[in-house]
């Protein structure tokens, strides 16, 4: 009984129940929602958000926030697109290290501003959100990278599959989630990130190099955004200086906050984040089926974030009360 109780009290159970209820409700109304085909649609909607959410989760756990993720995605995708355009006979897989490295450099830039000048990350990344987006326009001369430029092999990754008919980009996204899980749970770095976020004052006293950990977290977030950038080119087959990655940071924050990652740092799991991403994917997949116009999607995301914040708060308070009760 206590075992069952401890499972049900976990944050992840709450999101899972929300997903089940949501899918059941939609399925009652439109039975075709509960087929393998729509599962495929849900999964295809989520890989980019999944990768971005892993990045944002690590940043939030370290008690920072990164608003520039969408701009880093756009910039990295543009760098790769320009490379494919200017050097047409380059081997297509070279795009991956290039995109990841580009993102990592941008992320490191965020990290350096935050650590050297001791600035709040929210303002720094609000600035770099605009800065990186502007640079994307400058390097691309405000022109789009067209479909014909993106290598066929890269575009095929969103359709072809090595195993079980699951496209490559979905496998990559879940692979990243798996790696993040290992980093968060089974490495010294992971424990240090959680320790830093739980109590930034105590972390250096426990021998944690705060500057190093912060830099690594922001660089990782940049690298993952870069990976999401090249996968964007794979999924959509073009890179646009103004659209690519715009507003991506908000979808990612929505997914992460729904997944139970605390905005106060130190709390958050990969499992919860994955479920948060899937819930967003289910909502996005169900809207057209229910005949709700796509223009409502942002309003729904916004409302879901606010509700998740309120739930998070009530769960935290309940937790405090039960701890206080146990202490008596």
């Amino acid at each position: 009984m206590t075992f069952l109780r401890s499972i049900l009290l976990r944050r992840e159970a709450g999101i899972l129940i929300m997903i089940v209820i949501f899918c059941a409700a939609v399925g009652l109304y439109k039975p075709q929602f509960l087929t393998g085909q729509s599962l495929r649609i849900v999964l295809l909607l989520t890989p980019l958000i999944m990768i971005g959410a892993m990045a944002q989760m690590l940043v939030l756990v370290a008690r920072h926030v990164d608003l520039s993720i969408g701009s880093m995605l756009g910039f990295s995708a543009m760098v790769v697109g320009l490379m494919y355009r200017e050097i047409p006979d380059i081997y297509w897989l070279v795009g991956f290290p290039v995109a990841i490295l580009t993102g990592a450099i941008l992320g490191l830039g965020n990290g350096l501003l935050v650590t050297i000048f001791k600035l709040p990350s929210i303002i720094v990344t609000l600035g770099t959100l605009s800065l990186y987006r502007g640079l994307t326009f400058i390097i691309s001369d405000a022109r789009q990278i067209n479909r014909s430029v993106i290598p066929t092999e890269l575009k095929a990754m969103s359709r072809t599959s090595p195993i079980f008919d699951i496209p490559w980009i979905i496998l990559i996204a879940f692979g990243i989630a798996g790696i993040t899980y290992v980093i968060a749970r089974h490495t010294q770095l992971g424990r240090q990130i959680y320790a830093l976020g739980s109590n930034p004052e105590a972390a250096p006293l426990r021998g944690i190099d705060v500057t190093k950990v912060t830099l690594i977290v922001f660089t990782l977030a940049g690298a993952l955004s870069g990976l999401a950038g090249i996968l964007y080119a794979s999924r959509w087959g073009f890179v646009n200086p103004s659209n690519t990655g715009a507003g991506f940071e908000f979808q990612v924050i929505a997914a992460v906050v729904i997944g139970g990652v605390s905005i106060n740092g130190g709390v958050g799991t990969v499992m919860g984040t994955v479920l948060g991403v899937l819930l967003l994917g289910c909502v996005a997949a169900a809207l057209p089926l229910l005949g709700i116009p796509g223009s409502t999607q942002n309003a729904i995301y916004g409302a879901v974030i606010l509700i998740a914040l309120l739930i998070d708060r009530s769960v935290r308070q309940r937790g405090m009360i039960s701890v206080a009760g146990a202490a008596k």
């Binding site: 926030v65 501003l113 000048f117 001791k118 600035l119 709040p120 929210i122 303002i123 720094v124 609000l126 600035g127 770099t128 959100l129 605009s130 800065l131 990186y132 987006r133 502007g134 640079l135 994307t136 326009f137 400058i138 405000a142 200086p241 908000f250 924050i253 929505a254 906050v257 905005i263 106060n264 116009p293 223009s295 409502t296 999607q297 942002n298 309003a299 729904i300 995301y301 916004g302 409302a303 974030i305 606010l306 914040l309 309120l310 708060r313």
Partner: protein
């Protein structure tokens, strides 16, 4: 005993000389940049020495500048609001939608203002009543309000009646009305913040909320009030933008939160609260107009302006943090 100890400490730390107090402050930096920008821009184009050209350029950002003045007070009180730009868009959409549906114009304006008040109230409820960090709450409401505007307006633009169009062409003594309103609001808020009890209490809350509570200041009520005022002012600004543009789309002032925060930071408002002035934001608003029109005159791509705004925000916050660290009392 404690009294004499305290006076001994006071003697040990000599007061800063008057010139230091007056000159080493962020507003001075903003003012010097403003002069520097004006001189530089007038080299680019002789139009810059034409006051009416600058005034006309200012009407393009006057709405956001007015909101930034109120936002400054919110930041000084230790909170932040990233949703005013989305609030402007949603209030303007609700206003335009209401008058299109046949509501008389004055009533539609009131509906728009009430919508702004409701949005401010939601922000206040989430951040003050529910004690959630305003920075995350207002990212949520930013998406929510902008999304609702998208639901109302869709992809089309809603026209406003001809009688409502053209606030920027009304001149008072040769100065466009939006600029007059901006100056008026700046003087009013400057007086509130600098000379009234509530103004001092806002600084006290931002400096040390716990101490403010012990001093009997109702911090919650003041902060809720600030969020409500910001909501209503944003709605008014949104409708001013509608009047200037002649129609309303859901992407009105998209990304405007960056410019508003930038105006406050550039004017020397301390991001952690407790410091900052209306004068600083007032000067910063003019500085931004000089910079952006200067870049337009120099034929730079709008995208480069985006880059410059981002760099300015980071430099501004580094500079203010540096100055405040030097003048720590």
């Amino acid at each position: 005993m404690t009294d004499s100890a305290q006076s001994a400490i006071r003697e040990l730390a000599p007061a800063r000389p008057t010139w230091h107090v007056v000159l080493v402050r962020p507003e001075t930096m903003t003012f010097l940049l403003l002069i520097f920008g004006l001189v530089g821009a007038s080299f680019l184009s002789p139009f810059f020495l034409d006051a009416s050209y600058i005034l006309r350029s200012f009407t393009l950002t006057a709405e956001m500048s007015i909101v930034a003045l109120v936002l400054t007070m919110v930041v000084i009180s230790g909170e932040i609001d990233l949703s005013p730009a989305a609030n402007m868009a949603l209030s303007a959409c609700i206003f335009a939608w209401a008058q299109e549906a046949g509501t008389p114009l004055p009533l539609a304006v009131i509906v728009g203002l009430l919508a702004g008040l409701a949005m401010g109230a939601l922000n206040a409820f989430m951040s003050i009543r529910m004690q959630l960090p305003s920075i995350i709450v207002t990212i949520g409401t930013l998406i929510f309000y902008r999304g609702l505007a998208q639901v109302i307006a869709g992809d089309r633009s809603i026209r406003v009646p001809d009688s409502f169009i053209g606030i920027n062409t009304i001149m008072i003594a040769g100065i466009p009305l939006p600029v007059v309103i901006f100056v008026g609001v700046a003087v009013l808020l400057g007086l509130v913040l600098g000379t009234t009890v509530v103004g001092r209490q806002i600084y006290q809350i931002g400096t040390n909320q716990a101490a403010a509570l012990h001093a009997g200041i109702n911090a919650k009520r003041i902060k809720v009030g600030l969020f409500l005022v910001l909501g209503v002012v944003s709605a008014a600004a949104g409708m001013m933008a509608a009047s200037r543009l002649g129609s309303v789309r859901y992407d009105l002032v998209l990304g405007g939160e960056l410019q508003m925060v930038l105006m406050a930071m550039l004017g020397g408002t301390y991001i952690f609260g407790g410091r900052g002035t209306i004068l600083g934001t007032f000067l910063a608003a003019w500085l931004l107009v000089i910079v952006s029109t200067g870049m337009t005159v120099a034929n730079l791509l709008p995208a480069i302006q985006l880059t410059v705004l981002g760099i300015l925000l980071i430099v501004a916050i580094i500079a203010t943090n540096f100055i405040y660290a030097r003048t720590q009392r």
